[in-house]
Amino acid sequence: MIEIKNLTKRADSKLILRGIDLSIRKGETVAILGPNGAGKSTLLKVLAAIMKPTTGVVKINGLDLKKNILDIKQLLGYLPHSSLLYDHYSPLENLVFFGKMYRVHDVEQRAIRLVNEVGLSFFLNEPVKNFSRGMIQRIAIARAVIHEPEILLLDEPHTGLDQGAIAILNNVIVSMKEKGTTTLMVTHDFKQAAEICDRIIIMKNGTIVDDFYIEEQNLGFVVKKYQQQVEGVS
């Protein structure tokens, strides 16, 4: 599904990604862990086609990111730190706008359904600027999945969310996984990573230092591996 070979990204004089090689199969849910400045978000931005790689090859569904950028963008759902929502627009207006960008059929009905699913049907026509952080994040989740993407790229999606919003987000990820969606999630939340993901990648200084599968939501195993790789605990 996703093939990355010798990916590097240089910003100014600093090498942020130093030769990433990664292969992710369709339907996998992968957590990317690592300390601040490890290059996790940059890797996600390169995959989301927001940043251009300095060197290396990225293939998604067999399509080269450089040559088939529009086809690849159609496959991606991206949820970064920010909501990517227009403040003065209502949830419905935001979702319809982005849905039309992705050529979603019957976009208004789909938008209404998604707003219902994230539990904000009473606020369908209220401007987003009046919403709390948790409510905004719920609409941001709906925006990321408006076109039913085959690949979901999430950058610290659980940060600042209440329990209700975390449950909604996890439900979305699990239900998308059941439909065969591949998910890449950058996170510092080990508990959520262990709960939702079936594979963990640990990054440090722009490289992948560990890559393993987890079973039975083994949080202790994830923490131990992280400490070994990042904090040098043996």
Binding site: K45, A48, A49, I50, M51, K52, L70, D71, K73, Q74, L76, Y78, P80, H81, S82, S83, L84, L85, Y86, D87, H88, Y89, F97, F98, K100, M101, Y102, R103, R143
Partner: protein, 226 residues
Amino acid sequence: MNLLRTACLLAKKDLYSELKTKQVLLTQIIFAALVIVVFSFAFDPANNTTKAVIPGAVWVIIVFAGILGLNRSFISEQRNDTIQGLLVAPMEAASIYLGKFLANFMMILVVELISIPFLFLLFDFKFNGSLLYFIVVIFLGSFGFIAIGTFLAALSANSKSSEMLLPLLLFPITTPILIGVVQATRIILTNMEKFSSALAWIQLVTAYDVIFFVVCFLLIDYVLEV
């Protein structure tokens, strides 16, 4: 086809946003009204030489009101990083440029539609030239100014002092357009006997418009990368 469709969607979004917030257009119209009122007090409309000021006044309004709109054009997309939402959507960077250009161009046309008749009215200006050519000159000048301005607004949006940077970049590059359109406007409004000279200025501005529109269209991909 996708390029035009997404550009129109973006332009529609910007214009609808403007309809809701009334932040830019209202400021532009108020600015234009202020300029006209100040000019009408500074120059006696009864004096015939005052008519020579009108071509300059028309372009002062368009240029400064235009900058007010251009400044907001890309800065408004920084709130909640909505520019990233556009960059991850299946649209080319050129679509973003085209969409923003269309929205800015429509807004400046509205400003012109309101302010120029108001200017003529307040200066008691009797229009004796060719209305068609006057409209062509206004259209071409606005097109070039907004095309270059939209590109430079994208370029300067990431700078902390973007509101200062935009005019600094914009004025040197648009100077040939401004010289051309002010000269052409002056001839069309006051001295139609020299129309062939105005036509030469119009041709120069048209060539400049086409070249810069294409260049901006091709280079925007490098400017919009996060």
